[in-house]
């Protein structure tokens, strides 16, 4: 470390340039991580915040659109209720609607049809819970769109009028649309496309999108066996995210960009240390002739890379978090999660170190004989 630190100080311009590149990559990585978490949150926080273990969709429903395609009936619900390890099994309805509030604000809503009083029923932080057939509890984020307790929301086309009776504490969004919890019976009529005065076929009044399941404490549900008995296709909560609109496309794109960033970082650091090692070939030969051991020189080089990577990544993360704070108020879905940033930073440093190591192993190949003679 003696030589490594002094070289860092001596060649600080070169190391700062390289560190600057790594820091910029770290900034980009933090912003991408925030955007990624923000998009995920915007896409599926409505599902994430439900106390649900798994959703059972109708058998054979295409996974990537299960929430809009699936229809389950009472028999399937009852079959799940009878399964061992199931603490709760409740019908869950999901439909996206366009609406207009009494203040004239056009708003899109993901209507979650739940039975009032069931384990799915939302807890309102403001106003009251679900009770009246036309009462809805909206996501905290819907207040940004201009909804307030007491507002009336009129659904486009069918003209059903709903009243905001409560607002949740957390953000509930689904497919980048604010969630409104609505009593299941009302949801069934809306899902059937029936306005206030329309008649509906009686069987639609027993339907739901999926059976929301909650396992008993410390038990794992046997989803396959349950599916067989109930004639459903169950997905765990995390797996059901992929069934929300655009989720897979968004996350895989961002993940791909992040993978590229890691690769770029490893290559940049590797290229720098390759040049740095070649530039010092004669010095390294002198050190080897003086008897510096290979492990000593490898350790010294890796330590140097680690210092640069840690410093640059820390600086980049700080700048990224600062920029993120500026962004997160705006329209862009942005959410910084400490764990995601920590994992990404650790990966950045680790892969940078791999790149550096690939260059630094050349140190071991330097022939001490090159120290003799005059040619450099």
């Amino acid at each position: 470390m003696f030589l490594a630190l002094r070289e860092l100080r001596f060649a600080r311009a070169r190391f700062t340039l390289m560190g600057g590149v790594v820091a910029l990559i770290a900034v980009l990585m933090v912003l991408l991580s925030g955007l990624s978490s923000g998009l995920v949150n915007d896409g599926v926080s409505g599902l994430k915040n439900l106390p649900v273990t798994a959703f059972a969709f109708d058998e054979g429903t295409k996974t990537d659109a299960a929430f809009s395609r699936s229809v389950v009936d009472t028999a399937q619900m009852d079959a799940w209720k009878a399964r061992p390890g199931v603490a709760e099994a409740e019908p869950f309805g999901n439909v996206l609607v366009n609406a207009r509030s009494s203040r004239g604000v056009p708003i899109d809503l993901a209507l979650f049809g739940v039975t009032p009083g069931s384990f799915l029923a939302p807890v309102a932080a403001e106003g009251g819970g679900l009770a009246a057939p036309d009462g809805i509890v909206v996501s905290a984020s819907a207040t940004d769109a201009g909804l307030r307790v007491g507002d009336t929301v009129t659904l486009d086309r069918i003209g059903t009028r709903l009243t905001v009776v409560g607002v949740t504490a957390d953000q509930y969004t689904f497919g980048h649309v604010d969630v409104a919890f609505v009593p299941l019976d009302t949801w069934r009529r809306i899902h059937a496309g029936a306005g206030p005065d329309d008649q509906v076929r009686p069987e639609t009044l027993t339907e739901a999108t999926a059976v929301a399941l909650k396992a008993e404490d410390k038990t794992t549900l046997d989803l396959a066996a349950g599916d067989k008995a109930a004639g459903t296709s169950a997905l765990t909560l995390a797996a059901s995210f992929a069934a929300s609109p655009g989720y897979t496309a968004e996350t895989s794109t961002l993940n791909l960009i992040q993978v590229f960033l890691y690769a770029i970082s490893a290559l940049v650091v590797g290229a720098f240390f390759t040049v740095w090692t070649i530039q010092r070939k004669h010095e390294l030969a002198v050190l080897r002739a003086m008897g510096a051991s290979k492990p000593y020189m490898l350790r010294d080089g890796l330590f140097q890379a680690l210092v640069v990577l840690l410093g640059a990544t820390a600086a980049g993360v700080l700048i990224g978090v600062g920029l993120g704070a500026l962004i997160s108020g705006g329209a862009m879905p942005f959410l910084l999660e400490a764990s995601a940033v920590a994992v990404a930073s650790a990966l950045l440093v680790a892969l940078g170190l791999v790149g550096a190591a690939a260059a630094i192993v050349r140190v071991a190949a330097v022939d001490p004989l090159a120290a003799l003679g005059g040619h450099r």
Partner: protein
């Protein structure tokens, strides 16, 4: 840390350093370089013994094998035939890592242009040696005291690019002496120096050879400086010829 008053007798133990000091001995050393058709015999059955405190100059034309001699004597490479012993220890029997350890503990190198590390100050060039040999039981010199001895204490904070050629060589010599080595190998120390500086540097080497009781081998082209040496050997086509006293 006794570095003065040691005798030059091969049988005497350096009071400051561990182990027996018996200098350098090459016996029947042959080194071939390259392979196949381009095989060159760089050293051809070379015998050479250098006692502690003895300053030997190796002269000869380019390509005569002088650098190969330093490489073999300095445990940088192992000979194809013959034995190299430093303080009675056979270099040929050592692994690469052991040879590196032997170099760092018992051999000092002085290179053509000093070959100091550009990132380090003069003082740190010497402290690096202490750092490299950490944990070993050695009679290390005190860096400032050694810089004083070679007349470089006043430039302890300078970096190599701020020094003249002669000053760099002084620092290089001091660096090589940090571990009170048994063997000091010097490669063309005056190649980049004018006459006056050359004499200064080589007389410093002669003085330190006596003072540190180190066996010194200096390879040189520079016949002007040979007067400082105890013995001169001439190398031609990989063979050592008549060993003469300086003129």
């Amino acid at each position: 840390m006794n570095h003065t008053g040691t005798t030059t007798s091969p049988s005497t133990t350096d009071p400051g350093g561990p182990g027996e000091r018996s200098g350098l001995a090459l016996s029947g050393v042959t080194l071939r370089l390259g392979d196949g058709d381009s095989l060159v015999t760089a050293l051809d059955a070379v015998d050479l013994a250098v006692r502690p405190g003895e300053f030997v100059a190796v002269v000869g034309p380019s390509g005569a094998g002088k650098s190969s001699l330093l490489a073999v004597a300095g445990a940088l490479t192992t000979p194809d035939e013959g034995t190299v012993t430093i303080d009675g220890r056979d270099i040929g029997a050592m692994s690469e890592a052991e040879r590196a350890a032997h170099r760092r503990h018992h051999i000092g190198f002085v290179f053509q242009t000093g070959n100091l590390l550009p990132a380090l100050t003069v003082l740190d060039q010497l402290r690096l040696v202490t750092h490299l040999t950490r944990g070993a039981d050695l009679a290390r010199r005190e860096p400032r005291e050694l810089l004083e001895e070679v007349g470089m204490a006043h430039k302890a904070d300078r970096r190599p690019h701020q020094l003249s050629g002669g000053e760099r060589q002084r620092v290089g010599i001091a660096r090589a002496l940090m571990t009170t080595p048994s063997l000091l190998l010097v490669d063309e120390p005056t190649a980049a120096l004018d006459r006056a500086r050359s004499h200064e540097v080589v007389s410093l080497l002669a003085r330190e050879t006596k003072r540190s009781a180190v066996a010194t081998v200096m390879v040189t082209h520079d016949h002007d400086v040979l007067a400082h040496c105890d013995r001169i050997v001439e190398m031609t086509d990989g063979r050592l010829s008549d060993q003469t006293a300086p003129a």
